[in-house]
């Protein structure tokens, strides 16, 4: 009995440890995004935005200061303005005894606004949403059509074509990145939305998933519809797709996650600010604002937030679809 409890205890210990390792980077990201830059510069690595600030009392009011020099009988300070961003007075001489220390917790939500406005993140968001939307619609269309043919029709070279599809899609992206760049330059697609959307609107995993689903639909249903005078396309549109909604949702979620998170491709294929997507924008922001850690963490937070929120709402479906597609694919 005792051994069983101990067993359970160790199991939960390891599970909680692993869960902590998985989420701590995210918690740290959010907590850092709420700190003031001066606190980060002073080496605050903890999870709470704790600030230690010196102040003097002047006419009964607190005035926050930055100590420049402190000796036994003389101290020189800079006095902060109310937001503690800039100094309103510099090199003021005060008595060292009058300097006191304040420790408090303050969440700097303003970092989010500042990061959002520092580079056109609003534009990047719109671009990403537009690209992801088009990719999702495109994938749903091409995959439903192709999967329907592969699952329900007989034609010459069906297997050969299917295996060609699979083998092409198994080739990792970096392998054909360079020739793709050359190709897109030749057709003048570099730096256009076409380059971000069109190459990704066919997806073999989606075709595969939908083909499996379409195969499970009983033949009687097709026969009945044909007798009623439905054409093949009508059967697909009116019968097959409506009863395949869960799998279509899975397909859409995959396409959305893939498109939203894709980085290397848009990094290579675009360089103008106008069509820059979120991930590339974030990476430029990281390379430019190396000094402003708080803003960078704020930007990272709002970049990952939409998908994490989506995930939390639809987690059961997302997890099971990742697993099933993996095992079948």
């Amino acid at each position: 009995m005792f051994k069983q409890h101990l067993d359970k205890l160790t199991r939960y210990f390891f599970l909680i440890l692993c869960a902590a390792i998985m989420v701590i980077p995210f918690i740290w990201m959010v907590s850092t995004s709420l700190k003031s830059q001066s606190a980060i510069n002073k080496g605050s690595a903890g999870f709470l935005p704790i600030e230690i600030v010196n102040y003097i009392e002047k006419d009964g009011e607190k005035e926050y200061v930055e100590i420049i020099e402190k000796k036994e009988n003389k101290a020189v300070v800079n006095i902060y303005d109310e937001e503690r961003k800039h100094f309103k007075e510099s090199f003021v001489e005060v008595s060292p005894q009058s300097i006191k220390r304040d420790t408090f917790i303050k969440f700097h939500f303003n970092n989010f606004v500042e990061a959002f406005n520092k580079v056109p993140f609003g534009r990047y968001f719109l671009n990403t949403i537009f690209v992801s939307f088009c990719v999702v619609i495109g994938v749903l269309l091409t995959s439903s059509l192709a999967a329907y043919a592969f699952a329900r029709m007989k034609f010459v070279g069906k297997d050969a074509i299917f295996y060609l599809f699979i083998s092409m899609m198994m080739v990792p992206q970096p392998i054909y990145l360079i020739p793709s760049y050359y190709l897109l330059t030749k057709i003048h697609w570099v730096n256009t939305f076409w380059a971000l959307i069109v190459p990704w609107i066919a997806n073999i995993f989606s075709i595969f998933l939908l083909r499996q689903q379409f195969k499970t639909i009983p033949q009687d249903l097709f026969d009945a519809a044909t007798i009623d005078g439905c054409t093949r396309f009508e059967i697909l549109w009116r019968i097959v797709l409506p009863i395949s909604k869960p799998v279509l949702a899975t397909t859409a979620i995959f396409a959305l996650i893939g498109s939203w998170n894709s980085f290397m491709w848009p990094l290579v294929m675009t360089n103008s600010d106008k069509i820059r997507v979120l991930q590339v924008g974030l990476s430029y922001f990281a390379q430019e604002s190396s000094s402003s850690t708080a803003l960078l963490m704020a930007a990272s937070t709002f970049t990952v937030a939409p998908l994490i929120i989506l995930f939390l709402f639809a987690q059961k479906q997302i997890i099971s679809s990742f697993v099933s597609s993996g095992l079948k694919g």
Binding site: L15, F165, P179, L183, M264, A286, L307, Q315, I318, L327
Partner: protein, 331 residues
């Protein structure tokens, strides 16, 4: 069947087929062509046969990036396999909170590598990073996670007071292999590359744990019950029942993790440098080398394609090797 219905199936697969042909088949074929030509962004200039391949063979940067990538694969793949099977096994016996654990494990999978890399770069920061803050609790101070070019084995031996380099000099004298070659290989991945390894394992752990969990749940309880009656220990049950029966899942995890690890790019691009791939090129992985060669200042499209093709054949042979291995151990 009439004439019309003979061709309609092709209409259905046409949209997908067009994309596959134009944006997969053509570029992949092009990369073969590119590798045999002097080819710039304007077009082909000169047929140079195997010159790019000869250049590649004698390119120390290629060999270093290959070695870095191999280090990455050797460290990431087994750790991912072992840890994810371990956690899946724990999760499989757990009822309370199992949904909560599954969700938290899975969050990194849906998160962009860009944001993840940026966050981990700060976690590994020497002064204000969380990692060193944490390690300082155990008396380990000021590790230069992303700036340390020495290999982890060199550092480990150094920490326990063994002069690793001296031993290598002896070994080099005895075998005739140059000291530098020995040091680069036996020193192991640099601490900076090790940081990349940690991030990569962290990212792939959640997904593979869930995949393993699905595999474990498909093993019928009756096997364990029978083993229990026969008096087999939990330990024995794990190695005699779980491991063999889970081998198809293991094969899948092995294959996917290997492919994903060979193509690591974002972590290196965003966490290391400047210059990217530093310190001293110890984190320059092969995909970043392709990127740098083909799209950096040199814009050497044909040489970059050559490297990409070689990578392709490496991945292909590793995949086929694993497939052979799988057939041998499959029950």
């Amino acid at each position: 069947m009439n004439e019309k219905s003979k061709f309609t199936p092709f209409l259905y697969i046409l949209p997908a087929a067009l994309i596959v042909i134009i944006f997969r088949l053509v570029p992949i074929t092009l990369s073969f062509l590119l590798s045999f030509f002097k080819w710039t962004i304007r077009g082909p200039e000169k047929f140079i046969a195997f010159q790019n391949y000869v250049k590649l063979f004698n390119d120390p940067q290629f060999w270093q990036s290959l070695l870095n990538t191999v280090f990455l694969v050797i460290f990431v793949v087994p750790s991912t396999l072992i840890f994810s099977l371990f956690f899946a096994n724990l999760l499989n016996k757990t009822k309370a909170l199992s949904g909560f654990f599954r969700t938290t494990f899975f969050v990194p999978t849906v998160t962009s590598l860009v944001a993840i890399s940026i966050v981990w770069k700060l976690i590994f920061a020497q002064k204000s990073g969380l990692m060193n803050h944490f390690l300082s609790l155990f008396g380990i101070n000021g590790l230069g996670w992303l700036s340390e070019s020495r290999g982890i084995f060199d550092l480990l031996f150094g920490a326990v007071g063994i002069n690793f380099k001296e031993w290598l000099h002896v070994l080099a004298g005895g075998t005739g292999i140059p000291f530098n070659t020995l040091y680069i290989i036996l020193g192991g991945p640099s601490l900076a590359l090790f940081a990349i390894i940690i991030v990569t394992v962290w990212r792939s752990l959640g997904y593979n744990t869930i995949v393993y969990l699905a595999g474990l749940q498909s093993i019928p309880d009756i096997y364990y019950e029978a083993a229990e009656i026969d008096g087999a220990s939990k330990f024995k049950q794990f190695f005699k029942i779980t491991v063999p029966l889970i081998s198809p899942t293991t094969y899948y995890v092995l294959l996917m993790t290997t492919i994903v690890t060979f193509r690591v790019f974002s972590q290196v691009y965003l966490m290391t440098g400047p210059p990217v791939g530093g310190p001293l090129g110890t984190t320059k992985v092969i995909v970043y080398y392709i990127f740098e060669t083909g799209l950096g200042e040199a814009m050497d499209l044909s040489y970059a394609s050559t490297i990409a093709l070689v990578l392709f054949f490496i991945i292909l042979s590793v995949t086929l090797l694993q497939r052979k291995l799988e057939k041998k151990v499959h029950y």
